[in-house]
């Protein structure tokens, strides 16, 4: 009887020891990537952008109708000093090189281009496969550089209809075309709305303004310092704010010359388009901040 009891206790002890040891699992390090939700939040000063409210911009009432922005060349800065360029599945399209009259040659675009349509509430874009780790900031370009700006958006539409560089056709309601067929380039920032041009500026906005910024030399580099961590298999949100009031800083909306620009319009007929476009590009450089 005693032997049996002893045996039982021994087995029980062994069992407990085995069980306990099996609970001491070694958790492997998870190097899986995470997802980055890059928010590009439209603001007008301290207020959220929308298309129904009246805002005071440069001392007069304004209502926004469109705010469409391209971001490209997006690079995350890691705390160890390395960088992570955001990429996409390769898109092979033809590009007409500047000044080159030979047949267009295809290029492979792997850059992750993001297109925000603020008047439709599209202010967040998710990018997968971001290496997990600590980050200190982000750099990007408002607009797209050559040769990406020299591709045919119609060809992209045929190949990858959902790609941000695909021609918007038919144009979804509330979104204007994002590509100049006439001058073969993307509209990096398309800002439209109504303003009040009365002396007081406090009336109902009813005079159109539009700024279509694009063409070689009209991109804006942005650099933001912001700490964030990307965790394996999780989505991290990085919120940036884009202030339309700052984009329009210094513009006199009572002056017709400052109410519109399409950078690529003929200079003979629209001599102010490029200078105004340059002013707006400079403003864009100051309009982005981290939330």
């Amino acid at each position: 009887m005693k032997s049996l009891l002893r045996l039982t206790v021994t087995c029980a002890i062994c069992g407990i020891v085995l069980f306990a040891s099996s609970c001491q699992t070694v958790t492997p390090v998870d190097n899986s990537p995470g997802t980055l939700a890059l928010n590009f939040m439209p603001m007008v000063g301290t207020r959220a952008f929308d298309t129904t409210s009246t805002f005071a911009v440069n001392g007069r009432n304004v209502r926004f109708l469109q705010g469409q922005i391209y971001l490209s060349n997006i690079t995350l800065l890691k705390s160890d000093g390395s960088t992570v360029k955001l990429t996409d599945d390769a898109l092979s399209v033809r590009a007409t090189a500047t000044g080159d009259t030979s047949a267009a040659a295809p290029i492979s675009i792997t850059d992750r281009v993001l297109y925000y349509i603020h008047q439709r509430g599209e202010a967040s874009r998710s990018v997968p496969n971001i290496p997990a780790g600590q980050y200190t900031g982000v750099r990007f370009t408002v607009g797209v550089e050559n040769p990406i700006n020299q591709i045919d958006a119609g060809e992209v539409l045929r190949l990858r209809p959902q790609h941000p560089l695909a021609l918007l056709s038919p144009a979804p309601s509330g979104a204007g075309r994002n590509w100049w067929a006439w001058n073969s380039g993307y509209i990096f920032a398309r800002i439209e709305g109504l303003c009040d041009t009365s002396a007081a500026g406090t009336g109902t906005p009813n005079t159109r303004f539009f700024y279509h910024i694009g063409a070689t030399g009209f991109t804006a580099p942005i650099s933001i310092t912001r700490s964030f961590e990307v965790k394996a298999n999780q989505t991290t949100t990085l919120s940036l704010m884009f202030d339309y009031a700052k984009v329009m800083a210094g513009l006199n909306l009572q002056n017709p010359q400052e109410r519109s620009t399409m950078v690529i319009r003929p200079a003979a007929s629209f001599p102010n388009d490029r200078p105004l476009g340059q002013r707006i590009v400079a403003n864009i450089g100051t309009a982005v901040s981290a939330q």
Binding site: T96, T98, Q150, G154, S169, P170, R177, P266, A267, A268
Partner: protein, 354 residues
């Protein structure tokens, strides 16, 4: 009245009456629908290929790899759309309004008006052999036929419309939905509109002028003056053929031929932002040039004589003027020979209505 066993609740007359009514009902239910016209079958894709007759000595037509082969249905749809004023915002302007067949698919106006009488700043280019162009518009801003068409459809100085509106208009039309299904096997969409127009434009081939016949061995095709002009044209003395080169009389390059003393229109610069491109425009073909007056990017030269005189004088000495444009020292007689040769580049057959 004898009662039938299975109809013992009815008299014979009542049974006959009920049977007749039932029979009539059956007839109505079965036969009347059969007499109704059947539903029309949906239009299906017509893949009958369109065979392009490329003129002798011309290279193969360049067609992007992503485009499907030309079909009769596509070309015919494109031909109709080319003349379709409904593509403009107010239904008054078609492609053919500024690109008239009898004028080499240009128009005899310096700067033609679009919708509401609006005008841009440039002359309507000829569509002679447009399929071979590597870029479109005077400054080469459009990368293919489709982009060019889209731009003109939406330009407020031309047709003033937008893709969404064009698609809705064509979808509501009594014929276009059927024509699109025949051409593309799908509903109307903007890419279909542009592809059909491009397919039609690729048929605008011109290679049967008297010059061509002369080159193919018919020595009587050019008279003496025209032959002298031909010699001058291809001579080192004039170097006309340096820019107006090859089978289509254009290098496709962007040049400043010195027609603006001050740059009012910056031309190619608008695409490249390079100062050396200011005032440069795409070299146009000279085929059918007799019929495509007025000349240069803004139609500033009304006649071929005035153009030849301009080159003979050596241009207006603009900053980016091509070094090939310099005083030529041609006599009046030689200038006339050159003009006569240029007129021999006319292909009458090309100018027929489409």
């Amino acid at each position: 009245m004898k009662q039938l066993p299975f109809l013992r609740h009815f008299t014979l007359n009542q049974a006959v009456a009920r049977f007749s009514a039932a029979l009539l009902l059956c007839v109505l239910v079965v036969i009347v629908p059969a007499c109704s016209p059947p539903n029309e079958p949906a239009e299906t894709l017509d893949s009958t290929p369109f065979v392009v007759n490329v003129p002798q000595g011309f290279p193969a037509l360049p067609i992007p790899g992503y485009e499907q082969p030309a079909t009769l249905a596509k070309v015919e749809l494109g031909r109709r759309l080319f003349s379709e004023k409904l593509l403009s915002v107010n239904g008054t302007v078609a492609c053919a309004t500024c690109h008239e067949a009898e004028h080499g698919f240009s128009t005899p106006v310096a700067v033609p008006a679009g919708v509401f009488g609006r005008r841009g700043a440039r002359n309507a280019p000829t569509l002679t052999n447009v399929a071979y162009n590597r870029s479109f518009f005077w400054h080469g801003g459009a990368v293919n036929l489709q982009a060019q068409a889209l731009s003109s459809l939406e330009n407020e100085d031309e047709m003033g419309n937008d893709a969404d509106n064009i698609v809705q208009t064509l979808r509501a039309h009594s014929e276009y939905p059927r024509l699109f299904r025949r051409a593309f096997g799908k509903d109307v969409d903007i890419l279909g509109v542009l592809d059909a127009i491009a397919a039609f434009e690729r048929t605008l081939l011109s290679g049967n002028s008297r010059y061509d016949r002369f080159e193919r061995g018919d020595s009587s095709a050019l008279n003496a003056s025209e032959q002298r002009g031909r010699t001058l044209f291809f001579s080192e003395r004039t170097r006309c053929a340096s820019c107006h080169a090859g089978f289509n009389f254009t290098s496709g390059a962007f040049e400043d031929n010195g027609n603006q003393a001050q740059y009012v229109d910056l031309g190619r610069y608008m695409m490249t932002a390079r100062d050396t491109d200011k005032g440069k425009f795409k070299v146009p073909t000279l085929r059918n040039v007799e019929r495509t007056a007025p000349y240069v990017h803004n139609g500033a030269f009304p006649t071929l004589e005035s153009v030849v005189a301009h080159y003979n004088a050596g241009g207006k000495r603009s900053p980016n003027q091509s070094p090939l444009v310099k005083p030529l020292g041609l006599t009046s007689s030689e200038q006339q020979d050159l003009v006569n040769f240029l007129k021999a580049l006319t292909d009458e057959d090309f100018m027929r209505p489409r």
